[in-house]
């Protein structure tokens, strides 16, 4: 691999956003490189900045610090040799399939006749022959993404970037499209020199990539690189693949640490304020029920994902929630319910609420909110006020999401009440100071 030509080098890039007086680090000191002939998967949970990194590599976004090099030249604008296949396809709805492919060529100054023949040839290659005159809205998701691929390949990019290209598709279409792309790529039927794929799906990364760059959030950073020394075609049920998937789960899920470390600190206090995972209590309860009813003490997380038909990102988020509330422990990529978790899963609705309430009070953000309410006049606060207080620790959109989760959890636990119309949060009698 060392003798290969280096295509992209990301050199200590950092991305920070400033809102008001606060600066948030989306990406912290990330370096990586991409050589000709490589298929690299960029894997991480949502919010780890992997899409931002992809945009830096294509030149759509300029890093706050650090540089991106392409073939030894520092990038100072959109890279003409790179294209993106978007998660949401980003097709122009008012153009036909053929026009969508042609428009990329038009921008490069190709004549009409040449454009048409190139576009038709590409559409034929991705299997969209006969759909040239259709509009994107007439196509299924999988076919739309094929147009996305054809459009990206039309400009004959050296570097093909894909931003979660399969996550908006149904399971079967995604699987078919993955296979077709790998076939085009490994047979050398497209002039692409390297592929960079952003994904949050562990299995997808293991099945497709030659190398997996694993990222973590808070702040976004690279935590590991995993080589996948398996020949294509790979089968997800094969032992080698499953071992790798399990290994990556282990990297991403980590180990359950001590309670203070798991929970983090309250907003406004020194130390890391850990955001609440975006999970509803009902999802958590269902997940725990499933875990408890398994006949084993501990479950492989990739098995759970498979059984529950979820992608790895959801499973990791649920596991993290269970872990933080003390309902489960994570150990070497396995998940085991704690006695408390078992009780919670088996309990009646009212008992569940009580258990949840005692646990959720220990979560710093929720506890901080309760303290503020207790101190407030008439035990009520405007949601906007709480949100701006949270905005000292989180970027504005995340602060809004965090408040929504805290309200959802607090309401379930019957600790707080919320009036959406008035935008007011109230303390329930249960949580009032005695």
């Amino acid at each position: 691999m060392t003798d290969r030509v280096e295509l992209v080098r990301v050199d200590h890039v950092t991305q920070t956003y400033t809102t008001g007086a606060r600066a948030f680090t989306a990406i912290e000191d990330v370096s990586l490189s991409l050589a000709e002939g490589e298929f690299v998967a960029l894997l991480g949970p949502s919010g780890c900045g992997k899409s931002t990194l992809l945009r830096m590599i294509t030149g759509l976004q300029r890093p706050t610090a650090g540089r991106v090099w392409y073939r030894g030249e520092a990038l100072a604008g959109v890279n003409r040799h790179a294209t993106i296949v978007f998660q949401s396809f980003a097709l122009f709805p008012w153009l036909t399939v053929q026009e969508n492919v042609e428009v990329a060529l038009k921008a490069r100054g190709m004549s009409a006749a040449l454009r048409a023949s190139r576009a038709l040839a590409l559409l034929d290659r991705v299997g969209l022959d006969g759909f040239e005159n259709a509009y994107p809205r007439e196509l299924s998701g999988g076919m739309r993404q094929k147009v996305g691929f054809a459009r990206a390949m039309a400009v004959e990019p050296e570097l093909l970037c894909m931003d979660e290209p399969f996550s908006a598709l149904d399971v079967l279409s995604a699987e078919a499209l993955r296979g077709e792309l790998l076939e085009l790529w490994s047979a050398g039927r497209i002039p692409t020199k390297a592929i960079l794929m952003v994904t949050h799906n562990i299995e997808e990364a293991v099945l497709m990539g030659d190398r997996i760059v694993v990222m973590e959030k808070d702040p976004g950073r690279v935590v590991a690189e995993v080589a996948v020394p398996l020949a294509q075609p790979r089968h997800k049920k094969s032992t080698e693949c499953q071992m790798l998937v399990d290994h990556v789960y282990e990297l991403l899920a980590g180990q359950t640490k001590t309670e203070p470390e798991e929970l983090g600190t309250a907003p406004g206090e020194p130390g890391l304020t850990r955001g609440l995972p975006n999970v509803t209590v009902n999802q958590l309860a269902g997940f725990l029920e499933h875990l408890v009813h398994l006949q084993t003490d501990r479950a492989d997380m990739f098995r759970l994902a498979d059984e529950l038909h979820m992608d790895s990102d959801r499973v990791l988020r649920l596991a993290e929630t269970a872990e933080r509330l003390g309902f489960a422990v994570v150990d070497h990529g396995d998940l085991a319910a704690t006695p408390l978790g078992e009780t919670f899963a088996e309990a009646s609705i009212q008992a569940r609420k009580e258990i949840f309430a005692t646990r959720v009070r220990r979560v710093p953000i929720v506890n901080w909110l309760l303290d503020m309410l207790r101190a407030a006049d008439r035990h009520e606060l405007e949601a906007d006020v709480v949100q701006s207080a949270l905005a000292l620790d989180f970027p504005p959109d995340i602060a809004e999401q965090q408040l929504a989760i805290a309200i959802d959890w607090g309401r379930y636990a019957e600790l707080i009440a919320y009036d959406h119309g008035a935008g007011m949060i109230y303390l329930e009698a249960e949580a009032a100071p005695k």
């Binding site: 294509t58 759509l60 003409r80 122009f92 428009v103 009409a112």
Partner: protein, 577 residues
């Protein structure tokens, strides 16, 4: 559900209010600017001739097509101007952050200013510097332009700012720039909003065109040959046949435009939807279908396509550079100089305007105060009457699709006739009654306002979800409860939107409604509009400036303090989604 779409446009066209809150200093600059412009107009008006003879208007029906063409020509010219202005202004406001801070508040104030209040100032100042025929034509076009342009500009600005992020990114990664970006991304994305707003602009434009064509105060006859002048002349002569012909021509022109221009455009523009779902009931047009079925049209289209391709092949941009985005920069010094001279000009102008206003005697200010109260009362009365009949009827139509099928087209035709065109006819009818001018003024305001309300009520009633209607029925709610818990809350946002547009229209109407020269006789009633018109007739320029500013101030304040709050409340609490 084509009906639904038509109705909803009053509510859903983008950019009714700006989403961003304008800076207070932006408002200040805009207000001072307006005062200065009006002052300059009033200054110029000193030179306007005291007697202006109108042009002869023929009442022969044979002249009607010619008059219709003239009216249509004025509308088209103003619309072309509006479109050009919209594209440039919206682009600047959307992409130049510094310019946006002035351009947005400016738009916000301008769209709520009663445009007709400008008419006298514009007319007088233009006749002072230009030959009369040119000045009057130009004034009409400027007036129509100012009535058409703001909502269009807002729609375009809003569209530019809301192009989906991933489409913009795709545009950048595939190097779409300049004209290609405009025609591939921005214009298609804005197309539907632009077309709907163009339709609204035309509807509003007719109202002002008619007002401009019939404008006469005292010895100054500013009438323009056109459909409006024809109708006023016919009414003055008491010629019922000519009145009928005139109104029929107006309706034919408006309906033909709708059927031959707007409907086909809408049907064609359905492809510019952003949603990736097929619409269950796309807008249809018989004329568009006919065009598509025609071989001749196909031939034209193919030729056109070839021509475009030919041009395209010759104007292709070569290999693009590695970085994207070009920027033109004026040197910093020139920019500073421009700002400085603008500031000095504004300061000087506002001092002169203040001096002129100080010259207005106290008794005149009293008169303005009384007039404002009277007009406010009339506007409120017209709104109350309109609400009283449109709510029950609108709900009846909205909840009953059989009734809707009958009433809808009738109401649309009735609404399409600009109220100002009928005003002379109305005067003819009520002037013999005691207090006739007062009645006429309220009726004119009503004619301008009620349709907006009716359509909004119908749209609101149709939008009530079926399951909520079932629920109230299952709960066995009484009539009063049903109105209180279901109908009025669901209608609220639609009522607010309708009322905002209506009251704006009513203030506008006051200028022509409260003071009229009819058949050589001047009739007036107490009111702010009457004061403006009277000052125009008498050449009392300081009073004209004072009254015009007062009206602008009152309407803008009302919008800010009352309507905007209600609108926000409606958005937050009573939305169905």
């Amino acid at each position: 559900m084509d009906r639904h779409r038509t109705l909803d446009r009053h509510r859903t066209f983008p950019g009714f209010w700006p989403t961003e809150r304008p800076a207070w200093w932006g408002d200040a600059v805009v207000s001072v600017g307006l005062i200065v412009i009006l002052y300059i107009g009033a200054r110029l008006a000193f030179g306007a001739p005291a007697v202006i003879r109108g042009r002869g208007i023929s009442l022969s029906p044979v002249a009607l097509p010619y008059y219709a063409l003239l009216s249509l020509g004025r509308m088209t010219a103003a619309y072309a101007l509006s479109l050009a202005f919209t594209l440039v202004y919206g682009y600047k406001a959307a992409f130049d952050r510094r310019a946006r801070r002035v351009l947005l508040p400016l738009l916000d104030v301008l769209q709520s200013v009663p445009i007709l209040s400008f008419l006298p100032v514009v007319l007088l100042s233009l006749t002072a510097v230009l030959p009369q025929s040119v000045a009057v034509e130009l004034a009409a076009i400027i007036l129509i332009f100012t009535s058409q342009v703001w909502n269009l500009t807002f729609a375009w600005y809003q569209s530019l700012r809301t192009v989906p992020h991933e489409l913009r990114e795709a545009g950048r990664i595939f190097q779409l720039r300049g004209a290609l970006r405009l025609t591939t991304i921005e214009l298609p994305f804005a197309a539907i909003a632009l077309i709907w707003n163009s339709m609204m602009s035309w509807a509003g434009g007719w109202f002002f065109l008619m007002a401009a064509e019939i404008f006469t105060v005292g010895q100054r006859d500013f009438r323009l040959p056109g459909l409006g002048a024809y109708l006023s002349e016919a009414a003055a002569a008491g010629d019922a046949r000519a009145i009928a012909f005139g109104i029929a021509t107006l309706i034919v022109v408006i309906v033909a435009l709708d059927q031959l221009a707007w409907r086909p455009l809408l049907a064609w523009a359905d492809r510019f939807k952003v949603e990736l779902v097929e619409s269950t009931d796309p807008p249809r047009s018989w004329f568009y279908d006919a065009l598509l079925a025609s071989r001749l049209f196909a031939l034209f289209r193919a030729r056109g396509h070839h021509a475009l391709q030919w041009i395209d092949d010759r104007t292709r941009n070569g290999e693009p550079p590695l970085t994207d985005g070009t920027q033109w920069t004026v040197s910093q010094r020139i920019r500073q100089l421009l700002w400085l001279s603008a500031a000095i000009g504004l300061a000087y102008g506002s001092v002169r305007a203040a001096i002129m206003l100080l010259g207005v005697p106290l008794s005149d200010w009293e008169e303005i105060g009384v007039g404002t109260a009277a007009t406010l009362l009339r506007v409120t009365g017209a709104l109350a009457i309109a609400l009283a009949w449109t709510i029950p009827l609108g709900v009846a139509i909205g909840l009953n699709s059989r009734l809707a099928r009958w009433c809808q087209p009738l109401a649309q035709i009735a609404a399409s006739v600009p109220a100002t065109a009928l005003f002379p006819v109305l005067l003819l009818a009520v002037l013999r009654v005691a207090g006739g001018m007062n009645i006429a003024a309220i009726v004119l305001m009503l004619m301008g306002t009620q349709w907006y309300l009716l359509f909004n009520v119908i749209a609101g009633a149709t939008a009530i979800p079926q399951d909520l209607k079932y629920t109230t029925a299952l709960l066995g709610m009484g009539r009063v409860d049903r109105w209180r818990t279901l109908l009025l809350p669901s209608l609220f946002p639609y009522l607010v939107t309708g009322a905002i547009t209506s009251t704006g229209g009513a203030w506008n109407a006051s200028i022509v409604a409260e003071y009229s020269t009819f058949g050589g006789r001047t009739v007036r009633t107490t009111g702010l509009g009457a004061l403006i018109s009277h000052a125009t007739a008498e050449g009392a320029y300081p009073q004209l400036l004072a009254a015009t500013l007062t009206m602008i101030l009152i309407v803008t304040l009302f919008n800010r303090l009352v309507w905007r709050r209600l609108y926000r409340l409606a958005e937050e609490r009573y939305r169905m989604e």
